[in-house]
Symmetry: C2
Subunit: 241 residues, 2 copies
Amino acid sequence: MASESPAILPLLIFARVSGLVVALLVVMWALNFQTSFIPLHNPQNLIYSILHPLLMVIGFILISGEAILVHRWLPGSRSLKKSVHLCLQGVALACGIFGIWTKFYGENGIVANFYSLHSWMGLICVSLFGAQWLLGFLSFWHRGEMRSTRLRILPWHVFLGLYTYGLAIATAETGLLEKLTFLQTRGTVLKHSPESIIVNCLGLGLALLSGVIILAAVSPRHQTLPAKLMYSNTKRLSLDE
Amino acid sequence: MASESPAILPLLIFARVSGLVVALLVVMWALNFQTSFIPLHNPQNLIYSILHPLLMVIGFILISGEAILVHRWLPGSRSLKKSVHLCLQGVALACGIFGIWTKFYGENGIVANFYSLHSWMGLICVSLFGAQWLLGFLSFWHRGEMRSTRLRILPWHVFLGLYTYGLAIATAETGLLEKLTFLQTRGTVLKHSPESIIVNCLGLGLALLSGVIILAAVSPRHQTLPAKLMYSNTKRLSLDE
């Protein structure tokens, strides 16, 4: 995306609007259709069951997306940007861990829940996210002496971060579908019903959001002349060979 | 990923091994657990139900991934690479359309199937893919006069292509989970059973495959001195400001 730099401001606005729509949809689902969240074996644990999608979507995914965007709009020093990025990702990670805990706590422990593709993907995703955050945290406190190392791992940090973000979105999609298929097969929720439509729109909103966030993250900020020249040279090379 | 160029050969090998594992898992699932695929209302349409995951995973996703990789390994002219890329993506698109058709044909038409998040995501994904392919096909026949236009849209083509590929993977994950949740809720398949483990491993294999294919696609091929210098300059800029 180096040659045709999209204006970053409209992208940022679009990302925030998509995020707001996603947040509204998940809150609307959790508050208006509480009966869908009553756990089969422990009905008194309703609150944990409702907290799970709220924490994973708003806490983990939306805050993490905002942390990715910090580098694209926050004015100030590099250190400030990195601090805010680190803090926001820390909040997202805490929400993710707490969100997983609510599921395991609310419904009969780890073994009873750790069978689905959603749970497998979720644990891998949060583990990758945690490892990324820990590496970021450690490198943040080793400023001078590790500068060359940090420069070397930066592209990997960016790639793995965006991959983990995409994996989180895919995991959320599987979670939405698992919940809805479960309810629909039990006959609690009709296939063509307001709840089904809200959950499907939430899924599409998340898919759209991921595209906008990743586009904003990879699109170039500086459109300097050397960068332009350099890019068109390499592009021509790869096209011509 | 410009500075730390991973060696492309190991990446390509890893991508092919992941793809092979994914193909084996989906074939193993389809052949060994045929009873899981018997349609509720039209049991005689078993073959369409089995063809759906095979066409979507092997035909749509694996061939499409191979088409993405063509630019990274195929020797020869730019025109040859583009032709092979276009042909492979055409085969993938045909498999995708046929795969969707088997589902709608095999189970009571479009209305009865077009309710789930999986079906919504799948249709959006194949439509995006079709639009991309059509644009690629048209630009392929307008060689000289549209060169500047093609150069301008190339980064968008790459971004949208990789996004569509990621969306296809997410859609496949939802499909696997929908099928398994449906079977588990009906009690046909146990939560902890060989079939559940095979499908979950297939899901994880697809997630891994997407990471390797996208990494291979975005990692730089040429590590020329100017590119190195250019990269470290822009990197320093973005880190220092």
